[in-house]
């Protein structure tokens, strides 16, 4: 949803919504990680995750990897189409 909102904003601004610059890519991934953390706090899952022995770094990687993968798919998908 966050990515869709960013895409909408970039389309309205007349930018390339599919192929982000490196800075924008890092920003999107950090935003996704931050939203993941907020959601974890909202659902009060911290104690459950800590009881599982999951470290905050591992959790951040779990949030970041799908976002990064999605961005690469979009980037190369757009490159193939054009």
């Amino acid at each position: 949803m966050a990515r869709a909102a960013i895409t909408g904003a970039l389309v309205l601004a007349g930018g390339d919504a599919l192929r982000l610059s490196t800075t924008a890519l890092v920003g999107v991934v950090l935003l996704i990680v931050a939203l993941g953390w907020i959601e974890t706090r909202r659902r009060r899952e911290g104690a459950f995750l800590a009881n599982l022995g999951v470290s905050p770094y591992v959790l951040s990687v779990f949030f970041a990897v799908p976002a990064l993968f999605g961005e690469f798919v979009l980037h190369f998908g757009a490159a193939l189409l054009t």
């Binding site: 659902r43 104690a47 459950f48 800590a50 009881n51 022995g53 999951v54």
Partner: protein, 238 residues
């Protein structure tokens, strides 16, 4: 027997208010200990410090023979601690079965179906926690404990808002864990339930803790009766 978990001489101040000045928490294998005290006196804070959820201003924590000035729940959990917070433990995003499976895979734990059966929630395994009643959620959390098979369990007010039948099931579970050698510490205000179940009572008051001993002896402690149990219990006990 030596405690597996000991938070010794801990102090904690929140926003300029001294909650604990020199309090201690000990969890002994095979014992069910209850930590009692008035609201806001620092029981939950002490339990959270023992669990590694918050760092003490001073004092130290020992777990399994290792001493720490500051430690995380994640680290203690990997060494055998399980912490039940004073709010729901299980995530609303997944079914109870899924979460018990996560614990089983992570720690090579017990069978989730067997643990659920033990806690009387076998029929609720494929539900998400928000579909369960408060008592059933507590039972599901205890099922998670049975799957984990911890060395030490800290439970913060596990009896909050549960029906007597559920409370009875929780007490049986805590006693069974202690009988299996787990070091159990629970907090709460359900005096008759807690005193019936406990092997040892710790009283938290005025920023410190007093080891009152077995419930029969604790209930005869004049200060404990006057300042915590109150006149109702006082008249019953006499």
């Amino acid at each position: 027997m030596n405690p597996i978990l000991a938070a010794e001489c801990v102090a904690k101040t929140f926003a300029g208010r001294r909650i604990l000045s020199s309090a201690s928490l000990r969890a002994v294998p095979g014992e069910l200990r209850v930590l009692m005290g008035r609201n806001g006196i620092g029981k939950s804070t002490l339990l959270k410090i023992g669990a590694g959820c918050i760092a003490p201003d001073s004092g130290h924590i020992r777990f399994g023979g290792r001493a720490y000035l500051s430690v995380s729940l994640r680290k203690l959990a990997a060494e055998g601690l399980f912490y039940l917070p004073d709010h729901d433990l299980l995530s609303t995003a997944f079914t109870v079965r899924h979460q018990l499976e996560m614990i089983r895979r992570q720690f090579n734990g017990g069978d989730p179906a067997e643990a659920a059966g033990l806690m009387g929630i076998a029929g609720h395994l494929d539900k998400r926690p928000f579909e369960l009643s408060g008592g059933e959620r507590r039972r599901a959390e205890l099922a998670a404990v049975f799957v984990r098979r911890p060395l030490c369990l800290l439970a913060d007010e596990p009896y909050r808002g549960v029906a007597p039948k559920d409370a009875e099931a929780l007490t049986k579970a805590f006693s069974s864990l202690a009988a299996d050698g787990v070091a159990v510490v629970i907090t709460g205000h359900e005096v008759p339930t807690l005193l019936d179940a406990a092997d040892h009572v710790t009283w938290c008051t005025s920023g410190t803790t007093y080891e009152l001993g077995p419930p029969q002896i604790a209930a005869r402690n004049e200060s404990f009766r006057r300042e915590y149990l109150g006149s109702w219990f006082y008249s019953r006990a006499i």
